[in-house]
């Protein structure tokens, strides 16, 4: 990067090589302050590697990662205190009682919101006297989320946070996430492969595909711009139909189903005229779009 970037997270040309395999293959991504970003990707797309690289938990092979303008690999204590992180695999001291673990965690931070922590534990039915070691995966995850929120971080990073929560707890968790994000001061990045979680909460989406960012932008813009066109022409359409911004194309005789990246009245008009065709425009939800973007394998 040539200019200083004080964004909560900024990745520039980040590559992470594991042997012959590139887990991240040149990732450029900026998470703007105050946004709630859903990082969407299939299993093994590199989501966890991206998050860990961004946070400075693993070192990129090439490229640069920064948190609030500081190199991720060399964060100051003050900047670390502004981050809350819930990893995918949670390891907490199994011999501690929940109450003790919270007290212990709180002691690391200059600021700690006891009221919020107590409220969340009550809402989620997590008892303070239970030992951490006997907790179910779901309860352990709730506890980890509470611990990550206690110091009211400016940046909250969650790796597959809802994966092991049952539907009820997931709803509660999403509600909490919205409360956390409601004031627009906090920035949230969470990875998921469940598009419906993302659609309610996130205002931005970053789609990671095979170690590269396939899309990064506002969720509304994505839904407004990626559309499926149903083309019906008066004559057979060319099999290699040339349409700008094509994501996926199926041509059969006079008809074609074409998903495009950037729909516009001009584009539709152009297709109508070029092929003497009628064009129907179909909205796509995030899951449809995600699948369309993964079509070219």
């Amino acid at each position: 990067m040539t200019t200083a970037n004080n964004s909560p997270i900024a990745l520039a040309g980040v590559r992470k090589q594991y042997g012959a395999k590139a887990a991240l293959d040149g990732v450029d991504l900026v998470i703007p302050a105050g946004s709630v970003v859903g990082l969407l990707g299939q299993n093994a797309a590199g989501k966890t590697t991206l998050i860990k690289t961004a946070l400075g938990l693993i070192r990129p092979t090439n490229g640069e990662a920064t948190i609030f303008g500081e190199p991720s690999w060399d964060l100051s204590a003050a900047t670390k205190a502004r981050i809350g992180y819930v990893p995918q695999v949670i390891t907490l001291y199994p011999w501690m009682r929940i109450r003790q673990l919270i007290k212990y965690t709180a002691s690391f931070y200059p600021r700690w919101n006891d009221g919020l922590v107590t409220k969340l534990l009550t809402t989620w039915d997590v008892g303070g006297e239970d030992k951490v070691g006997i907790l179910s995966v779901g309860t352990l995850q709730k506890l980890a989320i509470v611990l990550a929120l206690g110091h009211e971080p400016d940046l909250l990073v969650l790796d597959e946070p809802a994966a092991s929560l049952d539907p009820g707890a997931r709803r509660d968790f999403l509600r909490t996430l919205l409360e956390v994000a409601a004031d627009g001061r906090r920035t949230v990045l969470f990875s998921t492969h469940i598009t419906s979680d993302l659609e309610r909460v996130a205002d931005r989406v970053a789609i990671l595909r095979a170690g590269k960012i396939a899309y990064d932008g506002a969720l509304d813009d994505l839904k407004d711009s990626v559309k499926r066109l149903h083309i019906t022409a008066t004559a057979p359409l060319p099999v290699d139909l040339q349409i700008p911004g094509v994501v996926k194309s199926q041509v059969e005789g006079n008809e074609a189903l074409i998903s495009v990246r950037d729909v516009s009245p001009a584009l539709i008009e152009q297709i109508r005229r070029n092929y003497a065709a009628t064009v129907g425009v179909q909205d796509l939800n995030l899951e449809d779009i995600f699948l369309e973007l993964h079509h070219h394998a």
Partner: protein, 131 residues
């Protein structure tokens, strides 16, 4: 008093949530379910009720404000404007239908003059039914 929230969104639709909100509120105002002078529920209330991002609600509200459907009243929120005098809102309401007419006209290779010539008597005929 806060009006009841008669809004419902489908987050997993292909239509962005803010657009769903705009369309529903626009329809409620046009149908007088939200009368002029009434206030929209606060951004926070709607976001909590529907469990969606507050920014999405803000976005919908500011779009409605730009269209003139509501106006921002300092310290009180978004108030529904008096509709009959607002030509812009009514023009916006008919726009999708006109776009359809335009598209079909093009497909039929009709000249703009032909379409307008056909439309004009229809509009004038309706004149008699106005109060």
């Amino acid at each position: 008093m806060q009006p009841a929230i008669a809004l419902d969104v489908r987050p997993n639709s292909g239509v962005p949530i803010y657009r769903q909100l705009v369309e529903q509120l626009r329809a409620q105002v046009a149908g007088r379910r939200l009368a002029a002078g009434e206030f929209l529920p606060s951004v926070r209330t709607v976001a909590e009720h529907l469990q969606i991002n507050p920014m999405t609600v803000s976005k919908a509200y500011s779009l409605l404000e730009r269209e003139g459907v509501v106006e921002f009243v300092r310290g009180q929120g978004m108030r529904v404007t008096t509709q009959p005098t607002n030509g812009k809102v009514r023009r916006e309401a008919i726009r999708p239908l006109l776009e359809q007419v335009a598209a079909t006209a093009k497909q039929l290779s009709l000249a703009p003059e032909q379409v307008i010539a056909q439309l004009k008597p229809m509009l004038e005929e309706n004149d008699d039914h106005r109060k």
